[in-house]
Homo-oligomer: 417 residues x 2
């Protein structure tokens, strides 16, 4: 189902951003406020489903469940690039035999993202035609003429030596940062990595000090390698948080099981605050007023690369769990999951990616605040982006027409706190 109702909620929403000075937030500020006992050991799905009998009245044993109609994933079908168990051994043998490409930590996060279908209909690292469309149009046109949003170049860089090693092989094996075999990239295409152009068109700036650029582009090779991805198994991090890393397929299944008729996603890379919680509860109330019977919140902190002075993921997850445990958010109508993407801090360009990926996870409403994915300019005393551009660009972005954008303002805080 593609919902077309547009809800503009701009009067009573709150954004109490703890990071008032965006580039100088210290982790320690948060740690003192948090419980020391980690409570993220439980299954985020099981923990909230146990009391949820009212919503599943029609899903009694022996009775057919009424399935909700979630928003279609981009391209019509959710991409899943994990090799079936029956083929895993032969694929591993094949991967072993191929020239290898070494993945960085950030590369592996992108492998995770692509393989689970967050970037549907993308089926691998971008070839040049996809890269160019992403850079210039923030979207991809399919063969049938339909357009999906694709604002960030999802690319894999290799250096001259790796290119030489690959030679004319049409396929390569992928090795994780620890040397473990991750998967295969096939029918590859190698093309130039013009870093200056990529950075300028993605960030609207080439100033030194852009965190993702320094982490993942400046040290990277001068070539990009695109191709079709297959991974031998779901990407895991073994950091005690893997149970939070719900794939779009798992999320859709859960929304379906709960018979959600509206899913509203909230992207976070900072601790969740009472102000956020109020906002999310108010959004639910308004969706109910609009006639939805069972709106579900996807509280969806970003789990990939973030800049060093952001609050670490484990601390944030602990804090998110606390908010749920304290009853500030209703666990019956909330799912907390980790969005595995790395962070670009690319403002209006990146917020499209954040929204688009949530469509693939089943969300038909997306809450957007002021200056999403923004940060201070790395060399000038100003914000890198106009704080209003994020929601404006989001509301006009090609391929996001089917998503309902819920903007909220920062100006209301003083009235409530």
């Amino acid at each position: 189902m593609s919902l077309t109702i547009k809800l503009h909620v701009t009067t009573s929403y709150l954004n109490l951003n703890l990071n008032t000075s965006k580039n100088t937030t210290k982790v320690a500020n948060f740690k003192v406020k948090l419980r020391t006992k980690p409570i993220y050991h439980c299954d985020p799905l099981l923990s909230v489903v146990s009391n949820n009998s009212a919503m599943h009245a029609s899903a009694q044993p022996g009775q057919p469940a009424i399935r909700s109609s979630l928003i279609d994933p981009d391209g019509g079908a959710l991409v899943d690039l994990v090799v079936p168990e029956s083929k895993k051994a032969s694929k591993a043998l094949e991967a072993e035999s191929l020239p290898k490409v070494n993945l960085t930590k950030v590369d592996l996060e992108w492998v995770h993202v692509i393989s689970e279908g967050w970037a549907s209909p993308l089926r691998g690292f971008m070839r040049e035609d996809q890269y160019l469309q992403s850079l210039h149009f923030n979207s991809l046109r399919s063969q049938d003429g339909s357009v999906v949003n694709m604002s960030l170049p999802i690319v894999l860089a290799i250096d001259d030596e790796t290119k030489e090693r690959i030679g004319s092989s049409p396929n390569v094996g992928l090795l994780g940062p620890n040397g473990d075999l991750i998967g295969i990239l096939s029918s590859i295409e190698i093309y130039k990595h013009n870093k200056e152009e990529r950075i300028a068109r993605t960030w609207g700036s080439t100033a030194p000090g852009l965190p993702y650029v320094e982490e993942a582009i400046t040290p990277a090779g001068n070539w990009l390698i695109g191709g079709d991805l297959e991974v031998l198994e779901h990407i895991k991090y073994n950091d005690g948080l893997d149970h939070y890393r719900l794939s779009p397929q798992q999320l859709r299944k859960e929304f379906d099981r709960r018979q959600a008729d509206a899913v509203f996603a909230f992207q976070l890379r900072n601790p969740v605050h009472n102000g956020h919680a109020l906002l999310m509860n108010d959004t639910r109330r308004r969706l109910l007023e609009m006639g939805y019977k069972n709106p579900i919140l996807l509280l969806h902190p970003l789990g990939g690369f973030t800049k060093p002075d952001d609050v670490p993921l484990d601390v944030r997850m602990e804090q998110h769990s606390k908010v749920l445990e304290d009853g500030v958010l209703d666990p019956e109508t909330t799912i907390v999951g980790i969005f595995p993407s790395p962070m670009h801090y690319a403002g209006p360009t990146e917020v499209q990616w954040h929204a688009k990926a949530r469509i693939n996870a089943g969300a038909n409403f997306y809450i957007v605040g002021r200056d999403p994915a923004g940060m201070g300019h790395p060399t000038e005393e100003r914000d890198l982006y106009d704080p209003d551009h994020g929601k404006k660009v989001l509301s006009m972005a090609p391929g996001l027409e089917k998503l309902n954008i819920l903007p909220f303002r920062v100006g209301e805080i003083t009235r409530c706190f």
Copy 2:
């Protein structure tokens, strides 16, 4: 009529670019090759129509003319923002009474472009929502959901003092570089001019030395002013070349009168060469082979701002006329006109503008060479853009699906010369 046949001609086309060293071409190199007698005094339409009786057999007096079906302008109707003669006096009075904005030479070229409908459906300098769509998506979405290409931000910058002077006035008067009253911009919107972001997203580089940036952005104000444009009369330059400045409306009327069933446009900012001429003649031959009865060439040199070391417009026009006079190109099937746009040298981003504007002039075929609108990197020893990106981006650009792109290769030259 929207023609959907795709013609890919890549084997026998030629591009003999006289500017082998792009940034160092000297004007003098060309001047010595050209006739000293200017021959651009005649009307480019009248000059080629006189012998063209065969094509107008059905357009005898008293008989209804058979009209060709030209490609639709973007947005469905060609924009014409020249005030009708009957309202000119009252509009001039109104403009006089308003706060004034002073236009630079380049600003005036854009007023020319917008007022004649080259940028249809754009009806004035961009407001912020159009600016953002142009920067991020290289296209504009209309209210009916249709998409037109719009790759360059067509904006008017003002400084703090002018903004102050405008105050809360909803309309402003526009003054040309010589202080003459040009027109009115109404229902204005003033928004921030983030030069770094505009430059980075338009050029994919912020390197010092980009010609348009140095001419028109660096010295410009920190605000952009958008609104609906009206001009008191067609923009003229009184440089002996105004008769070449055929508007899209004039061109369409002439294509119609000649009953063109295909119009193929060739953008130039350098002197035309025998290699180009061969290419254009070969294109015509191929279009005839495809079944078109009367393909007309629009030989369309760019007439706005160019960098100082490019060949000046008057020299180029003289040379273009010579090529026609010498019979290298058939004047019966060729129209030479000046495209009034300033040059950005923004490669793949700009070539979309060049193509889109020619749709509005009636062209359904667009010839694209290697590295269109490209130049050497201003600070590095390399091309600013990958020479192949221009035609690739053009072939995938939103809103240009109805245009037939005719790429040609540079590699064939040595076989023919």
